[in-house]
């Protein structure tokens, strides 16, 4: 008899658990749909050739009829420099990400591992710079770039973004959670500070490095205003600026804009897919 009631209890509990699970997944699905709709709309718009792109009375309006790739081709026809813009963005991102990660990791190391006078002051000063509005930096940075004779160079686009306070703190945080015993063991083996940083700590900071790589890549990839301020030659403009050519003062073809936005998203998505596993670990690590 008792056994019987136990099994019914068990099935009850299991049922409730299932019900919760279903509800949970339903909720996730709804959030997923909400997150995806703008993307799907963009994709569908970029594949449409005629008709109203803003009309969305039923879901079937999302299916392009007829389906065409002509918008993607049209981008290059309208803006022949598109390939150049892509290349410029890759150049900016490559150097930008490399130096930002390198500098963050090198600057984060002493802040996490060494004791020296003024360490607190340095940290507070760094955080204080975050409080300055972008506009305040803009003019000073512009004057500095001109004084360095770097106006209209890729270096001008890169320099102000190379040191990232967020990056330094992220790397410092990930060094902090690694046990100090590892450094000590390496030190006993005769390793220099450089070797400890390079061969002991950095290999353990994969997730944070991945997070920083993605964040800085996205930041450099999306940079818009600064390149326009320090560049003069169109042939050096990054992709974001090039995309703005698709909308002029009086008209814009939303199909082309959509196609351009999707193309611009591809590198970021690919980078994220490759780093996804580390990225999640890295994000979890930030709070530690």
């Amino acid at each position: 008899m008792r056994e019987d009631s136990n099994t019914t209890d068990d099935t009850e509990v299991r049922k409730i658990r299932y019900a919760w699970k279903i509800l949970f997944y339903l909720a996730l699905a709804v959030i997923g749909v909400f997150a995806l709709v703008p993307f799907v709309w963009l994709l569908s718009t970029s594949l449409k050739s005629a008709g109203n792109v803003f009309r969305l009375e039923s879901l079937t309006d999302l299916i392009p009829k007829p389906l065409t790739l002509s918008n993607y081709i049209q981008i290059w026809k309208q803006i022949p420099m598109m390939t150049r813009f892509f290349l410029n963005s890759f150049i900016i991102c490559f150097f930008g990400v490399f130096f930002q990660v390198l500098i963050s990791a090198l600057a984060g190391y002493p802040l996490a591992r060494m004791e020296f006078p003024g360490k607190k002051l340095i940290m507070v000063t760094m955080v204080a710079t975050l409080l300055l509005p972008v506009e305040a930096n803009l003019v000073v940075n512009f004057i500095t770039i001109r004084a360095m004779h770097l106006y209209n160079t890729y270096a001008a686009v890169l320099l102000p973004g190379l040191v990232s306070v967020f990056g330094i703190f992220l790397m410092r945080q990930s060094f902090l959670v690694i046990p100090k015993d590892l450094d000590d063991a390496a030190r006993i083996d005769g390793a220099s500070e450089w070797a400890i940083w390079r061969h002991v700590l950095m290999p353990l900071c994969g997730p944070s490095t991945a997070v920083l790589t993605i964040f800085s890549f996205v930041a450099f990839w999306n940079t818009f205003m600064w390149p326009l301020i320090v560049l003069k030659n169109e042939s050096m403009y990054p992709l974001t600026v090039g995309l703005s050519y698709m909308a002029n003062m009086f008209s814009s073809d939303f199909r082309l804009v959509a196609a351009g936005c999707l193309l611009a998203m591809i590198p970021v998505v690919i980078l994220f897919l490759f780093n996804q596993r580390y990225f999640v670990q890295g994000i979890q690590g930030i709070g530690k």
């Binding site: 109203n52 803006i79 150097f95 301020i229 003062m249 008209s251 814009s252 073809d253």
Partner: protein
């Protein structure tokens, strides 16, 4: 071994960075010509042919001058201009809207066009447009292309709502039409871009006193215009997101075929034709109902010359060339816009059109409005700050958090504090 490779890699990167820097510094061709740098807003690459034509003609007329054309998106132009002036690399001629021009004029950053341009040439521009950039008695901009607003309406929606095929002629009629559209079709009739300052000035309600140090809009006749919007919202005749989405929201709704009327400039027909051909086919246009003061708002694009320009005289000359009668007329044939010069505006093109019925209608109506149009930009220091305060007040009244009279009283007090310091 591995460390060595890393070192090599770092060296390689540094070397390539240096090459990039050096590449950018490649020396410019040395010429004895005067270089004039001029900026426009979002015309590349669609209007390259037109602009390059102008540049070629100007350089031919002035063999001693070399022009450099830079085109920027509107959201960057002010930042770049301020950085460039501060950094000692000012452009010579810059395309700005009246608001931006006034902000710079108030900061003593622009050359006075009243001083630089001879009276007989000045007289060729519409006085109301020339005066738009007036600050302390002097104008600081040469008006370029302008546009007056129209009412575009969706004939299909009007038919469904049982309305005659005609644009409403007064603002009371706009409300009546909106009621019918809302009731019969479920769509909204219109979605205004709420700009109280324009409403007041269009209707002869004073915003500031003569000294421009006191706000006057805490009076009942001014409050009535805010109440108008609040009541429209209460009756659900305009969407809840009117304030948040503004003009862009109205444009999107109209293009989706779910807004009865769109209040906009004729140049937006180009956008609707591209993105919503079915709505374009159902669109007709009518004049913008004037306010009690008998005027309608005009949006003006100007050319200004920064005081930091090294060749002010030549720069003003270039601004006058770019806005010359023939050059403006040629541009108006490409885009449904209006010229700022009287002779260009009297050309038969604006009456005859170019064979695209809807655009021709729009231009015909729009050009007639030009003579009683005013650029309603405020023209006081800190105007963007004042507008922000006013918008916050409008918001609290619109969402029913506070009474219209109370919010405007509070906003007027804040305006007085700011204006008193001028």
């Amino acid at each position: 071994m591995f460390a060595g490779r890393v070192k090599n890699f770092c060296l390689l990167i540094l070397a390539s960075l240096l090459i990039i820097i050096a590449g950018g510094c490649a020396s410019r061709a040395n010429t004895d010509k005067i270089r004039l740098e001029f900026w426009t807003i979002s015309l590349k690459p669609t209007y390259n042919d037109y602009m390059n034509g102008l540049i070629g003609r100007y350089e031919k007329l002035h063999p001693d001058v070399e022009l450099e054309w830079i085109d920027l998106p509107i959201n960057v132009v002010m930042q770049k201009l301020m950085a460039s002036i501060a950094g000692g690399a000012s452009p010579d001629v810059v395309n700005l809207n009246t608001d931006y021009a006034l902000i710079l004029a108030q900061n003593n950053a622009l050359v006075s066009m009243d001083k630089m341009v001879p009276a007989d040439i000045r007289a060729g521009y519409f006085e109301n447009l020339w005066e738009a950039s007036r600050w302390k008695g002097e104008s600081y901009a040469v008006p370029w292309y302008v546009s007056t607003q129209l009412i575009m309406y969706n004939k299909k929606i009007f038919k469904e709502a049982g309305l005659p095929e005609a644009a409403p002629a007064t603002w009371d009629e706009v409300v009546a039409v909106s009621k019918a559209v809302r009731k019969k079709t479920g769509f909204y009739g219109f979605m205004p871009a709420v700009k109280l300052i324009n409403d007041w000035r269009m209707n002869g309600v004073p915003v500031l006193d003569e000294s421009k140090k006191h706000a006057l809009f805490d009076r009942p006749e001014a409050v009535a215009y805010l109440e108008w919007y609040v009541n429209l919202r209460k009756q659900d005749l305009i969407p809840a997101e009117t304030l948040v989405l503004g003009y862009q929201g109205a444009l999107d709704r109209y293009q989706a075929g779910s807004l009865g009327m769109l209040i906009t400039g004729p140049q937006f027909l180009l956008r609707i034709a591209k993105n919503a051909p079915d709505v374009y086919a159902a669109t007709a246009v009518g004049p913008y109902p004037p306010g009690r003061a008998g005027i309608v708002p005009v949006a003006t694009m100007n050319f200004v010359v920064p005081r930091a320009s090294k060749n002010r005289g030549k720069a003003v000359d270039l601004a006058l060339f770019l806005t010359g009668d023939e050059n403006q007329l040629e541009f108006c044939k490409l885009v449904p816009l209006l010229p700022s010069r009287k002779k260009a505006a009297s050309d038969e093109f604006f009456e005859k059109g170019k064979g695209s019925p809807l655009e021709d209608d729009a231009i015909r109506i729009s050009v007639k409005q030009l003579s009683y149009g005013r650029d309603l930009s405020l023209g006081v220091k800190d105007s963007n700050n004042l507008v922000r305060i006013l918008n916050q007040a409008v918001e609290s009244a619109f969402y029913g958090r506070q009474e219209p009279a109370a919010v405007l009283r509070e906003a007027a007090k804040q305006w007085d504090e700011i204006l008193g310091g001028n």
